[in-house]
Symmetry: C2
Subunit: 258 residues, 2 copies
């Protein structure tokens, strides 16, 4: 099989964005697999390709990309290794080492980790994504880079250890900053105020760190040491959000740029 024949194992947020990007690049995946027929058909129909919930039913392919929850990955990778002993098998997980794929029986393997936040409802433009790649040998690394190039993604080499830290840092920069947006929305909703009012602020906060390091860009009551505002804010909060306000403010105060 040639290396443009790709099968996607998984039909979650990342698998969906990746499948759509490959299709848009003129390299429609041959087939998709998901644990349930429902989600397999959803993505299969979107891509116009074969789908199944049974790995043994999938067609041959040059490259198999596994994009499933980390906990399910080793078991599914073992099954893929059995079905595709000669194909290049890739996973997309930030926190799982490349060697896991070898340990479950893959002979040609690597990692394709696009560091981005993926949702099915919003397809990501890969030209804005940094993808971190690792191959079991240099020929494989080149093949993985070619996939990134095909969908227009910026591509960087990263070891399994570096990738683990990139993923951890991404949880803070992305998942946790989004959680702060959610807390903000919760406060506004209670007062009948629209979250839309926050969007220019969120945009400027994100833009600012293109030009200033985050601890230089830090503003607000904690950064100013404005205790009267912090006390007033704490008095307006309770439960989870009150604790969160305390902890994050303490972090800001303790890590203030000298």
């Amino acid at each position: 099989m040639d290396d443009s024949s790709i099968i996607i194992i998984g039909a979650g947020n990342l698998a969906t964005s990746l499948g759509v990007a490959l299709k848009q690049a003129g390299n429609v995946p041959l087939a998709v697999w998901s644990r349930t027929v429902e989600s397999a058909s959803l993505l299969g129909n979107r891509l116009g390709c074969f789908y199944s919930n049974d790995i043994s039913q999938l067609p041959d392919a040059g490259i198999v990309i596994i994009s499933v929850a980390d906990a399910a990955l080793p078991e599914i990778a073992a099954e893929v290794a059995g079905r595709y002993p000669h194909s290049l098998v890739l996973h997309t997980a930030g926190s799982i080492s490349m060697e896991m794929l070898q340990s479950v029986g893959c002979s040609r393997y690597g990692v394709f980790y696009p560091m981005q936040t993926f949702s099915k409802a919003r397809c990501v433009d890969f030209t804005t994504v940094s993808t971190f790649v690792e191959g079991c040998n240099s020929e494989v690394t080149e093949l993985i880079r070619a996939i990134a190039a095909k969908i227009g993604s910026r591509c960087y080499d990263a070891t399994s250890k570096q990738r683990r830290y990139l993923h951890l840092a991404a949880v803070f920069a992305c998942n946790f900053s989004n959680a702060m947006y959610a807390m903000s929305a919760q406060i506004l909703q209670k007062e009948g105020l629209p979250f839309e009012a926050m969007l220019p602020l969120i945009e400027e906060t994100a833009n600012k760190v293109h030009h200033l390091a985050p601890n230089e860009a830090q503003t607000g009551p904690a950064a100013r040491g404005d205790k009267s505002v912090m006390d007033a804010h704490l008095a307006m909060l309770d439960g989870d959000l009150k604790s969160m306000y305390k902890y994050v403010s303490e972090y800001i105060i303790n890590n203030k740029k000298k």
Copy 2:
């Protein structure tokens, strides 16, 4: 004095951005005041206007905008009320009520609260800013709206109570999300990895909430309930960041969109 003659009391982040925006709009402030001559001269020279650290030395003006730390605001506002008994006096603080200005002796007063993150090193484009205004009467509210219009800011009416909650919500959406970027940068720096790698992710995270509510946009190990990744991440952290990882993940789990 006519209502285009403006004096700025304060030379901090917001005062600087506002002064520059007024200058760019062709309405150079008449004068600026700051507690120290050094910071007064820095902004005065930037705007090409009179500056002083003595309020009694300032020229007459139609409008006086006070933009100082919340803790200093009542005392300085009282001094301004004494020097400018007939001028319109505005403050720019999210958390301070409009009535404070009346209580220190202002006769015509209001609030001009541009909800944005301001840094001296990066002047804000006010056309991207939502400004919340409140006036002691409708004629004053119109005058405040005219200032917002002059610098191209979107303008909304907000009561003092609404403004307090907007400010609190802004601390979460802006100051705290920036703190999450800082934690991310701290993790990367320890591993010798560049923070720049996070920028596309930060941008997409900020863009996403233009289209999805934050709790719908939430992704990552906590949103997926991926305990194995969360445990691995906790094992990689210690101190402040370990506690933060726990608390924010718990929030995400407890507030998951059903």
